[in-house]
Symmetry: D2
Subunit: 283 residues, 4 copies
């Protein structure tokens, strides 16, 4: 499936400063970059950067002079995925996890999995397989957290969301990731562009490592699972901020779009996969 994505970020820069932007689409075996274009409204210094704590394609923009600055990104991307039966996915064998997977079992800034072991056990205790546990965690988060913009803040973490029962995609993902790790299922945070997301915005989802595969989930149920284009992934939002600002930079506004080039696009919803006991995997 081919998607056209775009992002426009507007800043007001005051003095020498820099922006570390994470808006470029990931390149992987399941996500092929056909073309992309990154432009700025005026002369700045651009640098591609790989940051160790995340998998993604960051861009560092150094700005020497004050004034407005707009970043523009467009890409055409082809994604592929697989839908598998959850029942076919074995439980992760902790003693066989590689050093690349293990960090996704550990607690992180916004995902205090060490404090949520009992809550996670309560939620998933009747399930036996890892996939069923993960599926019930994601369903619990969807049904117990109220999607609500403007309530949660940037320092809120999984424990806050568990108590407040309100938040945005970031909060949904952090809580679900924490509960999964608490159940010994590795889980990671993924930022995406999402076709048919209303309103269009950067979106956050998660992947859980089950049976040797990374299964993709959206606990908000807002994005079609086959309509996402991945940007970056890490342990939580601390690793994959869309933009880290250094210096006196303000008044940002965002515009995001993601459109499927194929008019016959049929959304695969989190709800339908949950009901069928299936998982979507971007291998």
């Amino acid at each position: 499936m081919i998607f056209n994505t775009s992002a426009q970020l507007d800043y007001s820069v005051n003095g020498e400063s820099s922006i570390l932007a994470s808006v470029k689409c990931l390149c992987s075996s399941s996500q092929r970059l056909i073309s992309e274009n990154f432009t700025t409204s005026r002369q700045v210094e651009l640098e591609d950067l790989e940051v160790d704590s995340a998998v993604g394609r960051s861009t560092r923009i150094k700005v020497l002079e004050s004034g407005p600055l707009t970043l523009n990104y467009q890409a055409q991307v082809e994604t592929s995925y697989e839908v598998v039966e959850g029942a076919s996915l074995a439980h992760p064998i902790l003693s066989d996890l590689t050093g690349a997977i293990l960090p996704f079992l550990y607690p992180s800034r916004y995902c205090q999995s060490d404090r949520l072991r009992h809550v996670a056990t309560d939620i998933a205790e009747t399930e036996s397989s890892a996939f069923a546990k993960a599926s019930s965690v994601v369903a619990w988060v969807y049904s117990h957290i109220n999607y609500s913009i403007g309530i949660s803040g940037p320092s809120d973490s999984a424990v806050d969301t568990l108590l407040n029962r309100q938040g945005v995609c970031r909060d949904f993902a952090h809580l679900a990731i924490s509960l999964l790790r608490a159940l010994s299922i590795p889980a990671r945070y993924v930022t995406v562009y999402a076709h048919q997301l209303q309103p269009q915005d950067f979106h956050a989802c998660l992947e859980a490592y089950i049976g040797g595969r990374w299964c993709f989930f959206d606990p908000t149920h807002l994005a079609p699972l086959n309509g996402v284009v991945k940007i970056a992934r890490g342990r939580d939002a601390a690793d994959v901020a869309v933009a880290n600002l250094i210096g006196d930079i303000g008044n940002s506004s965002f515009q995001v779009s993601c459109d499927c080039a194929d008019p016959s696009f049929q959304p695969l919803t989190q709800q339908s996969l949950h009901e069928k006991g299936q998982a979507i995997i971007f291998s």
Copy 2:
């Protein structure tokens, strides 16, 4: 300087399980491994492992049968270091940090630097250079936190330590790291063996990235800075636990030693370096 280090970890294993131990000494340009020996009290499966979130040499021990298990490690290591004038170290230029350094600016599970910006600014506001800021943060933590065993717990983080004013080396390191990151100074958690540490135990310190170098600090003032042998480093204790246990494993006890082979060893104390405005660097 040559050090002989050892660690003995005793476990009582109940059923199939595994241990991810991080006790082997780091190998680097400033820490040369002369010899080492890792043995177990009975037949188990051993695997060397590099975990992505830390720099260190982990060992995975798979145990199939119940019963007591003892791990023994001895190593002879030669370390070298440099003492530099703090005044010679420039402020880190955030916009030039590499992707390997940037993650040490981000908040992590036990280091909520995003919540401590104002406290950090209060502590270091009269200092102008990055080294002076770092030095005053470490001195503040030393003088305001009471070293006290048995009060803090594994889920305590920098905010707790800031309020409770009590803790062990781990808590001192987490608080100092958080304050440093809040001041835009990259900082990382380092586990070490430490000569003359009383009582002998695994110890936690930190490194701050200033002027392109990683300066080593011990906010507890308990270890001679030139008497440490490094084991591993990461964003915080979540990344570099001495042992992660999977399965039903209990009753652990530890014995640790670290001795300098040179009888003329002269300790460089954190206090004396602080007073002289100097930094120790293991390049």
Copy 3:
């Protein structure tokens, strides 16, 4: 039923200081004081005091000279109670609560009922009557929290206990009280002497206001409900500490006893009342 209670508190006093002790038995229509005796091991100034935030009989002890000090209290008390069918107790009508009851609906230091509305609703959502809700909250706390001495600390509150799932009587009471208030059921903290409590200690329970009566619950299941002699009650432990120490006072040890004078005492357990849908009320 007649009980003989005693408490001995040993202190080491250093300089002029004072102790506000809350060890005397309450006097009420359901708890008649037959005799009591309060002595100190040396000459001090004693004052009876009623503290506005609690119902209880505090004693202020002013100590002018350093040295050991022992407080001794013995009392003989007759208690009476009523066992009623929970089904007979109506839901509290919030708009009819008096000004004496309303504060027990509000959050307090260790009972953040405002943060636990959703958790409380999850626990009791299938129950319709206030008594059934209260009963299920107490049963949930009993079955989900592990009684464990030495884990929780004096600054732990209901949210901590909810996550950690461990604590002592104080923690059990705080969590249950918070959940009750979150369900709009007034609830208060009660300190007691308890016959057959093993080991003997001061104990904390709670009362919930249902159908115009204060129903007594012990979420730890450790005390026979008809074996308690009340000391004081308030919004939470901040209001009814056994002893508030002012000055340099240390090394305290406690000895407590509570014995029923009637050898045929038959314990009414929390478990049995729960199963029968009954409530115990000290009118």
Copy 4:
């Protein structure tokens, strides 16, 4: 000095419900009620109520029918006060505090004074008298917290405000009260109407008990200290909410006014009293 105050509260009521409003002016030796008028836009049941946890004049409004409801209150009040030299106020002698004062030393929901002892000591350590400590705490809160509407929420407490350094009058008061209690100075939360407050709103301040008197402080510096008309006081905002709503009630808006009848009113500012080392007391 004579003030005319008014409050209008607009609600949209959905079904049988009730409102517990705390808008009437306090009557005391320093605040004489000349006249007052409480009306409602339609027929409801009104009841005067004294709630044990606060000193104030609550009004319970029972509403049987759905629809809009407006509460209107006007009062004319004469207040008197005294300005004293802070140096004349002795330190509170803890062992002489009465049972009416002691609860204001204890931690409460939003004032976790037990967690802030070290921070409070840091702030006031160079001061010797209780008044100087209190004065420096209030000045510290004023200079370190940024008055900012829409950032803090109803579950934020003193620890949050200490870290976030942002909030409204309620947050300023909670933090200052907590720090005062942590220094063993009793402190209470006071809601007021305030002349010349911009924009007009209900306002929260505090009183600290020093030398046997309750000294009034406004850590926001927004109200003239001699321009306040008191409504209610308690341990913190949990005790003295302007309105507690029971049932399905929404869409509230507030309008508040407080005007001095004397055109020659000269404001006494917190800043000027602080500089002169003086305290204002409503005896």
